[in-house]
């Protein structure tokens, strides 16, 4: 696999992670389900994973960039696993609605595991790293205009989602810690929609 193909695949990975975050936002905004604190930390894990892929897109593929993504997935996955264990006993309740029979935190753990698996598979392909150590990996828009434009667009989308999540979290929790079961935006009490 060439560095260029690897960069394109990382751009597609960024798109996939962005879609995960957009789906979570859609649930929050359209269904009025406010994310719990652990749900927010899982979103941080996804943004961290996206950051590792963004490094590959911008600076060229390196093992350390995949390590950033794997570590972020492990941290996010640990939060997901903790939340699953909190509800794993029947009768102990759940948080949020289920999608295709699984709750969001369960899907999150599955996606984090898939991210680790995907990164491990990418790390098997050594040819993508040739030339990266010599500083030839950095993206130049003039060299590969279409790949550069796609990659940078996905990078911008992921950065925007980090900003949107940050703003949303401030509106939901204010400057402190979030309540365990949030029902209103602390800074927008007038327009908060109660959970169904």
């Amino acid at each position: 696999m060439t560095a260029s193909l690897s960069r394109t695949l990382n751009g597609l990975g960024l798109l996939a992670l962005s879609l995960v975050l957009i789906a979570a936002f859609a649930d929050q905004l359209l269904l009025g389900e406010l994310p719990c604190p652990l749900c927010l930390l899982q979103r941080v894990g996804f943004v961290g994973c996206a950051f590792g892929l963004a490094l590959n897109v911008k600076f060229g593929p390196r093992p350390s960039h995949y390590a950033v993504t794997i570590l972020s997935a492990c941290f996010g996955g640990a939060v997901s696993a903790r939340q699953i264990l909190g509800h794993i006993v029947p009768g102990t309740g759940t948080y949020g609605s289920a999608v295709l029979g699984l709750h969001y935190y369960t899907w999150a753990l599955i996606v984090f595991a898939a991210i680790v698996l995907g990164c491990a598979l990418m790390l098997l392909l050594d040819r993508q790293f040739e030339g990266a150590q010599a500083g030839q990996g950095a993206m130049t828009a003039s060299a590969r205009p279409r790949a550069a434009t796609f990659g940078l667009a996905m990078l911008a989308l992921a950065a925007f989602l980090a900003l949107a999540n940050g703003v949303s979290t401030v509106l939901e929790c204010g400057g402190g810690l979030c309540p365990d079961n949030p029902v209103v935006y602390e800074l927008l009490p007038g327009i908060s929609k109660p959970k169904p």
Binding site: L38, V44, F59, F75, V79, R82, G86
Partner: protein, 51 residues
């Protein structure tokens, strides 16, 4: 406080755009540290499971 990791990662993305890899990695590391601290603060209830 819960928004700190998001804004840290936003700063990391900004550094990526600016071509500052080391600074971006530093912001990422701080954000992950914040994630772990917030996780510790929020995961306080005992689990009803036997391992």
């Amino acid at each position: 406080m819960m928004s700190l990791p998001f804004f840290g990662l936003l700063a990391a993305f900004g550094c990526v755009f600016a071509g500052r890899r080391r600074a971006a990695l530093a912001f990422w590391a701080l954000s992950m540290l914040a994630l772990l601290v917030l996780f510790r603060l929020h995961a306080t209830d005992a689990l009803t499971i036997v391992l």
